[in-house]
């Protein structure tokens, strides 16, 4: 049975369309990042970058490297779209994209993570036709799972009291657009926030099977386009909607592009492959999928609300789930001199970095370590303690302390175990 499934072959057309669309959209993303001045503003201007665990060595790139990464990304994206050495161009695009992503943790986005995983899957399972213009069905299944899990986890993440019972954060976010013509008058209505919350959760949870089932597919894809266009218009989510509108087509029948092509038309040049090597690499792609399926579940290991403490939140496709704002101020004490003073992180960080730091405990910790190291280097003999006053409001509730103000964060290590210095979140309903 397994052998039969492994040897079953399907049309490669939908994979090719996915690859072309992703390649072109990546090219647009790279060009857009440069055109908007974000290379300078986000990568080069900050004097300090928050690093990903284990990737401190990435550091701040010099200007030539930063721009080169985007040139390489843009070039390899176009090559990927064109099907030039598909595996190789996907690999180069992956390296450039991941490098850019790893420069600063505060710029983490779920869709960057998704694209990194998708490109990795492209490297392992290149979306190109094999000698018979077809591919093994398992390759299509891998890519479908890769795309589908974004929706499923986004839907599961919405099944929380804030989203389902209090219609937050949509109640806040939709009301911001109450000035829109025609629709605007409804966007400040609480019932609409509830309807949108429930509809959003239902959409995420049901769209994958609905796209796979032929009878519901047209409605489901119309919903995909409508949902992503509306969210793209209402919220600053950049290229994400366009990537998802393109990626969702992988859930169509594998030969769907041929309906718009002349009979016998060739979508892409077939490539001879080594079946054994392909299966081995497919196994690695499977492992990558299993990892992606397991990572979001780690949030269950941390007590309390993930929306509050954020432990286990990254790499979980927890998309647009919370409206949080905070203010962080560090209190520094030099044990050797007894001197105490305050440090405003905004003095060193960019506005965006400071904003992201203000609600995320691991960033608060990382900056505390940086502060201690910097001050001890500046003042030989100093023994720096760093405490923090971090006040955070979730969905408009009264602000409360996120971090125990008595804990010397300079002595705390980051890790996967629950952080005891994160205080309990609010239990009262939002206002």
């Amino acid at each position: 049975m397994a052998d039969r499934w492994l040897s079953h072959r399907v049309d490669a057309a939908s994979l090719v369309v996915l690859r072309v669309a992703v390649g072109l959209l990546l090219f647009v993303s790279a060009a857009r990042f440069v055109a908007r001045g974000w290379v300078e503003e986000l990568l080069l201007a900050p004097s300090f970058h928050f690093h990903y665990w284990g990737f401190a060595w990435i550091g701040e790139p010099p200007a030539w490297l930063a721009y080169s990464l985007f040139v390489v990304l843009a070039g390899s994206s176009l090559a990927l779209a064109a099907g030039v050495s598909t595996r190789c161009s996907a690999g180069v695009a992956l390296l450039a994209f991941a490098w850019i992503e790893l420069i600063d943790l505060t710029y983490y986005l779920n869709h960057y993570y998704f694209l990194t995983c998708l490109l990795a899957t492209f490297v392992l399972v290149p979306p190109r036709p094999e000698a018979d213009n077809r591919v093994p069905a398992w390759k299509l299944a891998l890519l479908r799972t890769q795309v589908g899990l974004v929706y499923v986890f986004a839907g599961l993440a919405k099944l929380n009291p804030e989203w389902m019972l209090h219609a937050q954060p949509l109640d806040i976010w939709l009301a911001r657009h109450a000035d829109l013509p025609i629709l605007g008058r409804w966007l400040d209505e609480t019932w609409l926030a509830y309807a949108a919350s429930w509809a959003g959760a239902s959409f995420d949870l049901l769209v994958v099977p609905a796209l796979l089932w032929s009878r519901t597919r047209p409605f489901a894809y119309a919903a995909v386009v409508g949902f992503h266009v509306v969210t793209g218009l209402l919220f600053p989510i950049g290229m994400f909607p366009w990537f998802m509108i393109a990626a969702a087509t992988i859930l169509f029948p594998p030969d769907w592009p041929r309906r718009w092509l002349a009979a016998g038309a060739v979508l892409d040049r077939p490539v001879a492959v080594h079946p054994k090597r392909e299966r081995a690499l497919g196994g690695i792609a499977c492992a990558l999928l299993v990892l992606q399926l397991a990572l979001p579940l780690r949030m269950l290991l941390y007590p309390g609300s993930t929306l509050w403490h954020e432990q286990g939140a990254r790499y979980g496709y927890r998309v647009m789930l919370v409206e949080k704002a905070g203010l962080v101020e560090y209190r520094v004490r030099d044990r050797s001199s007894g001197r105490e003073w305050r440090v405003d992180p905004g003095d060193e960080l960019t506005t965006l970095q400071a904003r992201m730091l203000s609600t995320q405990p691991d960033l608060i910790l990382q900056y505390a370590h940086h502060l201690a190291a910097r001050l001890e280097q500046e003042t030989p003999g100093a023994a720096i303690e760093v405490r923090v006053d971090a006040l955070v409001s979730v969905h408009g509730r009264p602000a409360r302390r996120l971090i125990d103000p008595n804990v010397d964060l300079a002595r705390e290590r980051d890790g996967l175990t629950p952080k005891p210095w994160i205080l309990a979140g609010p239990e009262e309903p939002p206002p």
Binding site: L109, P169, P236, L327, R339, V392
Partner: protein, 362 residues
């Protein structure tokens, strides 16, 4: 299409039309109104500031024509008078004030005596020559430095204006006053009239600067928070010694005239004006109270507490940072509390954090 499907489509259409036409509008969006009120309040202050700057230029011209104690008093009073509206304007650091650099062009502080002395010693005698100098050599702090002497008093100032270098110093102060007036005139022009910043604010949602009302509210709130930060940190905490553990009077704003505390109070008044507005033209309070009366009450209480704490600091701040540091610290803490409520609760309540991200969200 089957009959059932036709009925389905008609049913959905009927529901949609019913929703669009039949349901009453229960919420009124007051944000545009608030933005208009805030813009109008700034225009009033700009008009006042411009008039005060004209008066300052006139009084300095009279002083330089015949330097005497009366003329000096009049010039000092005119400078003091201008500070009020200017500090209220500066409480909302956004729009052309910041984008076009008027904030530092008019009010770069803490004053750097060496740069100001370098200015008049350079012999700059025209607007073009003044334009070539850095912001540290000009603006209101430079005028203050040349009109006050905390050690020698007015006698020393008059001596400096009538001594060998007197004419050159006086010509430079006149030039500075003229420049401040010019800068305020330009700032006023950037705010006023069709297409001006006040108009852009009032037309938010349909204006070039603010394609959405939400964007304008975000900028307003962030400006109010930035203004409070400037009040808490550079005006109070840093001179108190927050960074080195000892008072730093050289970091005080308006340290020559000892107007530092009044500057701080005026800055808070500028915030209060934007938040509370007036009975007829309410400020941001209107929007916040609609979302959460409790949060609005918290802001009002924190604002009142900050006003009281600032009033409790003995004059002048130059000596209070040494003799009454607890009161200065209490004032800074009170402003911090107000800033915290704005940054955390009000921002969260209004969804301000979802936008203004330089990068794409999720």
């Amino acid at each position: 299409m089957s009959r059932t499907r036709w009925f389905g489509v008609l049913g959905i259409g009927a529901v949609a039309i019913g929703l669009a036409l039949g349901c009453p509008e229960t919420q009124i969006d007051h944000r545009g109104e608030v933005l208009d009120h805030v813009g109008q309040a700034v225009l009033v202050d700009l008009e006042q500031a411009h008039a005060d700057a004209q008066a300052l230029r006139g009084s300095i011209a009279s002083l330089c024509a015949a330097p005497d104690a009366t003329g000096l008093d009049a010039s000092q009073a005119a400078w003091m008078q201008l500070r009020g509206p200017w500090k209220r304007i500066l409480a909302l650091p956004f729009g052309p004030l910041v984008d076009d650099g008027f904030d530092t062009a008019i009010d770069f502080w803490p004053a750097r005596p060496s740069s100001i002395d370098g200015g008049w010693l350079s012999g700059a005698s025209s607007q073009a020559e003044l334009d070539a100098l850095g912001v540290a050599s000009k603006g209101m702090p430079a005028i203050e430095y040349l009109l006050w002497d905390p050690i020698g008093g007015d006698a020393a100032v008059l001596a400096s204006l009538t001594g060998t270098d007197g004419p050159q110093r006086c010509a430079y102060v006149e030039l500075l006053a003229s420049d401040v007036e010019l800068q305020l005139e330009r700032l006023d022009a950037a705010w006023r009239g069709a297409g001006g910043f006040a108009d852009q604010l009032a037309q938010a949602g349909d204006s070039e600067a603010f394609p959405t009302v939400a964007l304008a509210i975000d900028q307003l709130l962030n400006a109010m928070i930035a203004g409070l930060h400037d009040l808490e940190d550079p005006k109070l905490r840093k001179p108190l010694g927050a960074t080195i553990g000892a008072p730093q009077p050289e970091l005080l704003e308006s340290r020559f005239s000892d107007r530092s505390l009044q500057d701080a109070r005026d800055a808070l008044a500028g915030f209060a004006q934007a938040y509370l507005g007036t009975q007829a033209a309410p400020g941001l309070t209107l929007v916040v109270a609609e979302k959460s009366p409790a949060v609005d009450e918290q802001v009002r209480d924190a604002l009142a507490a900050a006003e009281v704490a600032l009033a409790d600091v003995p004059e002048p701040l130059r000596t209070s940072i040494v003799d009454a540091p607890m009161q200065v610290e209490a004032a800074a803490d009170a402003v911090h509390e107000l800033r915290t409520i704005l940054t955390a609760q009000v921002a969260s309540l209004l969804g301000v954090t979802v936008s203004l991200s330089d990068n794409d969200g999720d």
